[in-house]
């Protein structure tokens, strides 16, 4: 709850708020019985697909499952440099 105020002032988040965020994520995964390998495989396969359409650096891709209420939101972050010209492949 105090996270937003700190973020408002542009300060580094306290380790306790980082702990809370990480715990929420990991506990949701534990509760929903998510296999770590699912996330890892999804990560690899998404990169393969994304590479067909965009130019980006592989290690900038971040995929995470975020708990929201009683379910998950899948969040994929991939800062890309530019889109490939798809018409060339046709």
């Amino acid at each position: 709850m105090s996270i937003s105020i700190r973020q408002l002032f542009g300060r580094k988040p306290k380790s306790s708020s980082i702990a809370k965020q990480r715990l929420k994520l990991v506990i949701t995964q534990d509760r929903f019985d998510v296999d770590d390998r699912v996330v890892t495989r999804l990560h690899h396969e998404l990169i393969e697909v994304l590479a067909k359409y965009f130019e980006f650096s592989m290690d900038s891709v971040q995929i995470s499952l975020k708990p929201e209420g009683n379910s998950y939101v899948l969040v994929a972050d991939f800062p890309y440099k530019k889109a490939h010209d798809v018409s060339m492949n046709r």
Binding site: K14, S15, S16, A19, K20, L23, V26, I27, R31
Partner: protein, 264 residues
């Protein structure tokens, strides 16, 4: 008919035995009849924390093996009326006892005591199944660190699955200073994450070490912060509505968080 309460945790070393000894003594000081059951077979400690180690003759294993009557195996704590201990066997291991056998012992004890507190071993294996087999309610102990909280959530899931309720939380080794400077997760966040009711907060207290050295539970020590915290928790267990003191960012007691008694 008394209540059987299992004191448990996922992670080890978070304060289950300390809590069982102090809450048992506190409940007896409040005039209740209490029996403490050590379910940590093979790694018993409740006897030494209570200072009763030299007086153990029989254990729950002897009762199960019909070597002695249940009532004869109970060691009376001479410092307070109404407090006894059923020790665990140190020579056996957790697999030598069946959950049904533990349940039978708890059911018998329940008919002659107001409270049966079972000190569970850490973990999610057989020791936990044995300790929780006869329980009506549970107290989950955690410290405010990520591993202990995560493991507490696992245990809460298992307790819910076993239809043990209510499940209440004791937050142990809490440090207002660390919460104040943002390095320790606070009680509201812990409850928000685990989603169970908070029974009480026990501060980090070096007195725990000296009291364990002596075999005299902290609740006997006047002016001890930890002892007072355990006294308040015991009162809540008996149904009294005692507010849980909350700590603000500077680590001072300022606001009061209301604690509502459990249904029933």
């Amino acid at each position: 008919m008394g209540k059987v309460i299992v004191v448990t945790s996922g992670k080890g070393g978070v304060g289950k035995t300390t809590s069982t000894a102090n809450l048992g003594t506190a409940l007896a000081l409040l005039g209740k009849t209490v029996v403490l059951v050590d379910a940590d077979v093979g790694l018993r400690n409740l006897d030494i924390v209570l200072g009763l180690e030299s007086r153990i003759v029989y254990t729950s294993m002897d009762v199960i093996d019909k070597q002695c009557e249940l009532s004869k195996a109970l060691v009376r704590d001479r410092r307070v009326d109404g407090l006894t201990l059923l020790a665990a066997s140190q020579k056996n291991n957790k697999d030598d006892i069946q959950p049904a056998q533990m349940k039978a012992i708890c059911d018998k004890l329940r008919s002659t005591h107001d409270f049966v507190l079972v000190d569970s071993p850490a973990g999610i294996e057989r020791g936990f199944s044995n300790a929780s087999a006869g329980a009506d309610e549970a107290i989950v102990v955690t410290t405010p660190d990520v591993s202990a909280i995560r493991d507490a959530d696992r245990i809460i899931g298992l307790l819910q699955h076993a239809r043990i309720e209510p499940i209440n939380l004791v937050l142990n080794r809490f440090s207002p200073e660390l919460v104040g400077n943002g390095s320790m997760i606070d009680q509201e966040d812990v409850i928000d994450i685990l989603n169970i009711d908070l029974l009480g907060i026990v501060p980090e207290d070096t007195g725990v070490i000296t009291s364990t050295n002596r075999g005299i539970p902290l609740v006997y020590e006047e002016g001890s912060e930890g002892g007072q915290a355990y006294m308040r928790i015991a009162r809540r267990i008996t149904g009294q509505q005692i507010p849980i003191p909350a700590f603000d960012q500077k680590g001072l007691f300022t606001s009061i968080m209301n604690w509502f008694t459990r249904k029933g």
